[in-house]
Amino acid sequence: MGFGTGIISGLIRVLSIGFRKPITYMYPESPRPVAERFRGMVGMRRDEVTGQLSCVGCGLCETACPNDVIRIDTSETDEGTRWVERYQFDLGRCIFCYLCVEACPVDALQMTRAYHLSTPNRADLILTADDMMRMTENPDQPLFEHLWRD
């Protein structure tokens, strides 16, 4: 190896890289493909029969959550039937550990691959069961779609 050959081989190498396709994904315009088992936001299954929330309000996810993400308000009829008044999920606190999904006895909580979750407002991140059902059915849609339109 003579004097300056390293520089020349370096220059050729750099040029050959310059002719490759860039690895950049133009994210908001064209979505980045995610892995098959990507850990996205926690979703909620819609009951096939009623088309309603499939949560039974047992509160196990609330207990399982290490981070106080989930809050469930339930009420009971006189016959002792329980229904969910409000299901609240604070995505801003969620660490995507999926312990709630594991805890759920009726498989109401589901794993999704949704990752378009950004918003400039932290208060937006407190989600309802409807938001979670929407994201389960359509994980490629942005969570806050109104923000994505120009």
Binding site: L11, L15, G18
Partner: protein
């Protein structure tokens, strides 16, 4: 006989230079960012305008809107003058650069502002004046980093000016003329890059060092002394330094094309010789600009002692040997 038309043509030529010198850097900055992006597997600027074409324009407007800050402990007058010492020589040198042959549009018009008979000396002299830009900027900023940058710049530019001069001398021995138009005309049959290949190497390396570009960008080494001599500059004054850097790169590329790559000579299409000649000149200059960007993407910055050793212990002896060989060969011919 000088008439009104001559004066008008001269004014048009001068105006063209005054438009090219500030506009060309806008294009080159974008081109550099795009090319560097591709080399680093990125896309580069792509948000402002179609394909990011208006990025540098947006940057320029941003710089123009910024606060014009002068360090309170600095020397106001020198601080104010320093950017001018960078920009004005870069623009003035273009007065003697011939971008094409003499064309016939009603009358004979040379595609240069003036065919100075000491053009090379004029350009080297302007290069020496441009050293004052970093020196004054570094001194008047009253900042240690700026002073470091200007000290480095002074030593580097003065050292590499010598090797550049030696490389140019080789060409001058061949042509026997200081006029750039004559030098280009003498390369009609053979580019000087072939007999002067060592001279070309010395010239290009010195040119990159003269313009403070990577791998010789020690005066503005971002990682060591933040930005060197222009660290205290903001807004339009910083833009002037930036402009001067790219204008100087363009100038050195054009000079290398004129001295070594046959200037505007190339295959021409009959009927529009003038236009094709200018296109040839531009093509060659842009290719050399690409080499600048390419080197920046490849090579890391030199250490300071390496920089000086490379100039004085390697490049200068090489240039002198080249000059001696050229002189002996020239003597043998005649």
């Amino acid at each position: 006989m000088v008439d009104g038309w001559d004066v008008l043509i001269l004014v048009i030529k001068a105006l063209a230079i005054f438009i090219i010198v500030p506009v060309a850097p806008l294009v080159f900055v974008l081109a550099e960012r795009k090319i560097l992006g591709r080399i680093q597997s990125r896309i580069g600027p792509n948000r402002v305008g179609p394909w990011g074409l208006l990025q540098t324009l947006a940057d320029g407007i941003k710089l123009g809107a910024k606060e014009d800050f002068i360090p309170p402990a600095g020397d106001r007058v020198v601080f104010w003058l320093a950017p001018l010492f960078m920009v004005v020589p870069a623009a003035m040198a273009w007065a003697v650069i011939p971008i094409g042959p003499e064309v016939e549009i009603g009358r004979k018009i040379g595609l240069w502002v003036t065919d100075l008979n000491v053009a090379i000396l004029y350009i080297l002299a302007l290069g020496s004046v441009a050293v004052y830009g970093p020196v004054m900027a570094g001194w008047s900023s009253n900042s240690k980093y700026a002073l470091f940058g200007s000290l480095r710049s002074t030593a580097q530019v003065i050292s590499y000016e010598i090797t550049m001069g030696v490389a140019v001398l080789g060409v001058l021995v061949y042509t026997g003329s200081f006029s750039l138009v004559d030098i280009v005309e003498k390369q009609k049959d053979m580019w000087f890059a072939i007999p002067q290949v060592i001279g070309l190497f010395v010239f290009l390396v010195s040119g990159i060092a003269e313009t403070n570009r990577a791998p010789f960008d020690l005066p503005e080494a971002e990682t060591e002394i933040v930005a060197g001599y222009h660290v205290e500059y903001s807004g339009m004054r910083f833009a002037m330094f930036f402009l001067a850097e790219y204008a100087n790169m363009f100038l050195v590329s054009a000079l290398a094309v004129i001295l070594f790559f046959g200037g505007w000579h190339g295959w021409t299409i009959p009927g529009i010789e003038g236009l094709t000649s200018v296109l040839w000149f531009m093509l060659k200059t842009l290719a050399l600009m690409f080499v600048y960007f390419w080197l920046r993407a490849t090579l890391p910055r030199l250490r300071y002692d390496q920089l000086m050793a490379f100039c004085w212990k390697f490049l200068l002896p090489l240039g002198i040997v080249n000059l001696l060989i050229t002189a002996v060969l020239r003597l043998g011919w005649s």
